[in-house]
Symmetry: C2
Subunit: 576 residues, 2 copies
């Protein structure tokens, strides 16, 4: 009888246990979990805090009893692992409640220990009213604190001020849910933009939306100190690195990312990276015999950067890794499954907007000094003639020589994660931008277009790969507009420019429909940068100019819609 | 200067023209289109009839003037092509309004003639009040007729009776929109089920929903005759093949599929199939030199049945074929693009439900006598603990030896076409069910699950491929329930069975959680067929039984949820 011990029973650990049982009805499977809960819905916690999820019982997806009854698992909650002896194949554990210590031997050990919220050594970080969000106890404590504070201020949450530190996925979800509760929110992010997995011009859609909703968004700054507020000792005065002092915070959420929870594992001599992630091979085996690892604590292959690894703390990969380890343990000498790596496919909702991404972003391409191009498109979520279509802003990053897809990002109110799911699938199938252009997807007026958003992005990329079009990027426009040898050509209609704003005060306006007749107004010796609203007419215009003897013509990537989102003030303040 | 003549300017023809212009600013591009409209939104017509699209102007996506101004196209509407002379490369055309005849020479001819609604030779089919839906004139005529009839009955559409003949995509859209207008609707379909691209158990979800909404759904019957109604000569009495006589119909929609509009093309000696579809090679070239063809009128490769072709009249493929032909015409001796074929990715909305599919269905697999397996899963559209998740019913058809994906079908209220888009992408990337199991997709509580619907289907298929599970299908259950050597084991909880209904009157009920303790109640010599509600617990139960010495254990594919949808009456009438 095989004996499997699993440390950690949330995503990866629970999946490994369930799959192991289905593969071997007779194995002894022991699941050790710190705290009182196993297999809980950690991704749902912000929504319970905000009141969108109201039934706390649904958050405990499984209980020790349900796992025992269904899967004959020996689930031990409130259990801390103190030591692992890989030579004698034993785990030393203690019960966090009773203090009882014991040893458990294993034939196979699966480490699914997860990651803990990062708490930087900031003065005052241990004050009351500061919370990270890792488990249901943290969640309950936040709810209790918010309820108490709301009572303290006379029942009006509008008199509360919350700070969310860190504008990653969880940070943004907490901003949304704290606003939903009616509190005031300041969001502080160290990076120059929110939502680091996206590039700045894509994250801008969300940032601008948060500002419109009244969130005080501070980027490029970090918390220096938490101090007691004299008037209200329960509140904290936050000073930022810039010297800025925030309004007293009744609540601070620390969403500063996670660190692998691997002290015990390092002590056991199992190989970890300098940052503490467990090292695994393609079968998810650690350096110790019969010890496997999955989930937020491991570093996995980055399939888009051959030879490189990255940690990707996401629930989906953790689940599939858990299942795969069980398959490999019980492969009985047969072929083991290989974990290809993690692509970082992810999505976050922020009020009406969704932002999703997969693969590498432009910042990573630049940091790695890899050749790339990108296109930005803005088609509707479904056919334009059918009511209710919303713009999908999509960025595709690819290799301009062979069309290999490196990554994609999308933001919008509808159909956003669908497009990223499709591109994620294409990336995982080693498809190219040509394949995206030709992809056959569902179309009916309420849910798609004959040329889907993904097709449009693929076609735009294909045009770059084939040399039909060359581009400059949104962040080059301001400089170019000041160059004597450059003409910014705006091919929108005058009414659109008046309504939407200008690109540059010296931009020349010739609507596309008039361009062929007015070519002599342009100087063939100059560098012409063309833009319209979303990019399609500018592309047409570039083709016209190129074929009429204009030799230096560039399309403004993403056109006005992308440029404007990063320069809302600049564009708005110009006079049309 | 290259001269390109395009016959037909809706999806494929308009795309070809636009791409041709971008590739060659100096080409002469002439677009010949019968009727007054070019590039109109044909897929939107049912929604205008039903009032969901209110702005008719949006239906004319482009006009001859807009195409001239943007793309310098010579668009000639109301133009009929009478003859094609492939030897002298000339087209003979006439103006449908003025009667003027003329010849137009071409260097390249693109045939995008589309398909016409099929009108079988049924007595009375030329009566007033019978409409097919091909162009905006048909649409306008239907709206006018409905408005007039509604007036005739005193303004109450509830006094009108409409018949929709043919339960394909357009038929179902018309049923929805006629119901939205408040009329009574009878749907008549010759096949034994509605929505032929789906298999019967998947189409049942939509059929049951239509019946609940008051639609009189008649399958396995066809119209024999239309006769004048004595009391109201504007209405028709429909007699069906079965002898059934319908209530007088104030309006009949003929949604009986389409036939390629290729009489002129066949006469020109261009090779067509016996059913009239234009034959093209992988570059979309016809048998005549410099003559290309795209869209509903052509037969294309079926990439899932190597060597076989099929006609797939869908807007998306037509658009992409048009673009590809332009690329190939202007490839200037370079590599031409190859059209891989059409996968039949499609979706239809029917009230709250969406139904989508891709690839081959089970009926096709059986007709071709190909080895296949299928799995049915019923997960939620997003995480179960987050409010508002809807069941996605998904069927995956695959090769049980190598995991090749043949097709998929899905029905539900949310996230349906997203899953088919992902599987369609996987099929186009030659991925397998293993890849679906491991696919990394977006997950946040409001829009997905850590194990997405697609992952679940892939994992279920993987279990079949690897022999962890064997299955019987929903349509074998009634027979099996009557066999002495078979036990139907229902592992749901008694409360669920009482609420949902039974599988068979003699089914044995042992809830999964009690199964390990109650194994001795089952006979190891018997064939045990296991089911639960959605299939997951039955799978667990099968694994338990198999590993406890039960040798002949089968899972009921799709479990109660699939079985019940095809047997609502049978299951409902059983006493629990």
């Amino acid at each position: 009888m095989v004996k499997v011990v699993i440390v950690g029973g949330v995503a990866g650990g629970a999946s490994a246990a369930a799959r192991a049982r289905r593969l071997d009805e007779h194995a002894e499977i022991i699941l050790l979990q710190s705290g009182p809960d196993v297999s809980f819905a950690s991704c749902g916690m912000p929504y319970f805090i905000g009141g969108e999820i109201t039934d706390r019982a649904t958050m405990a997806v499984q209980t020790p009893k349900s796992l025992h009854d269904k899967l004959n698992l020996d689930v031990r909650v409130n259990t801390r692992v103190n030591n692992i002896d890989t030579a004698s194949k034993k785990v030393h554990a203690s019960n966090e409640v009773t203090g009882e210590n014991y040893e458990e031997s294993y034939d196979h050990l699966i480490l699914a220990v997860g990651a803990a919220p990062f708490k930087p050594p900031i003065p005052g970080i241990e004050r009351d009213g500061l919370f990270a969000l890792r488990n249901l106890q943290d969640m309950d404590a936040i709810v209790a604190w918010l309820d108490k504070k709301t009572k303290d201020v006379g029942g009006n949450p509008g008199d509360l001020h919350c700070v969310v530190a860190g504008a990653g996925f969880v940070g943004l979800e907490m901003v949304e849910q704290l606003l939903n509760r009616g509190t005031n929110v300041t969001l502080v992010e160290m990076l120059p933009q929110i939502l680091g997995p996206l590039d700045v011009e894509m994250a801008s859609y969300l940032e601008n939306d948060l500002v419109k909703r009244g969130v005080d968004v501070i980027t490029g700054d970090a918390i220096q100190e938490f101090k007691e507020c004299e008037k209200d000792p329960d509140s904290s005065i936050l000073t930022l690195k810039s010297g800025k002092v925030l309004l007293p915070a009744h609540l601070t959420i620390l969403g500063l990312g996670v660190r692998p929870d691997t002290a015990v594992i390092k002590d056991a001599g199992i190989e970890c990276t300098p940052r503490g992630h467990i090292q695994v091979n393609e079968y998810l085996q650690t350096s110790a015999p019969n010890v496997w690892a999955v989930g937020d604590a491991v570093e996995v292959n980055n399939p888009l950067l051959p030879g490189e690894k990255w940690p990707v703390p996401l629930a989906g990969p953790a689940n599939r890794q858990g299942r795969m380890v069980a398959d490999n343990i019980f492969s009985k000498g047969g072929d083991m499954r290989k974990y290809k790596g993690t692509y970082g496919t992810s999505v976050v909702r922020s009020f009406q907007l969704y932002a999703a991404c997969v693969g590498l972003n432009e910042k990573m391409m630049q940091a790695k000094n890899l050749p790339y191009s990108c296109v930005h498109v803005h088609p509707g979520s479904h056919a334009g003639y059918f009511p209710g279509a919303k713009e999908v802003h999509l960025k595709l990053i690819f290799n301009p020589s062979d069309g290999k897809i490196y990554g994609a990002q999308a933001v919008g109110e509808d159909g956003v994660e669908k497009r990223i799911d499709v591109i994620a699938t294409a990336i995982q199938g080693n498809m190219t931008v040509d394949d995206l252009a030709e992809l056959e997807l569902c179309y009916a007026p309420p849910v798609g277009s004959a040329k889907d958003v993904v097709n449009m992005a693929g076609m735009a990329a294909q045009n770059i790969v084939e040399g039909l079009l060359t581009q400059v990027e949104w962040n080059q426009l301001d400089t170019l507009a000041n160059e004597k040898e450059t003409v910014i050509l705006d091919v929108r209609n005058p009414g659109e420019i008046q309504r939407m704003g200008t690109l540059a005060s010296n931009a020349v306006n010739i609507p596309l429909d008039e361009l062929r007749k007015r070519l002599d107004e342009l100087d063939k010796g100059k560098h012409i940068v063309v833009s319209c609203a979303s990019g399609q007419r500018a592309y047409y215009a570039c083709r016209i100019l190129r074929q009429h003897g204009f030799e230096h013509v560039d399309n403004l990537g993403g056109a006005f819609l992308t440029f404007h989102e990063v320069h809302p003030a600049a564009a708005g303040s110009s006079t049309p």
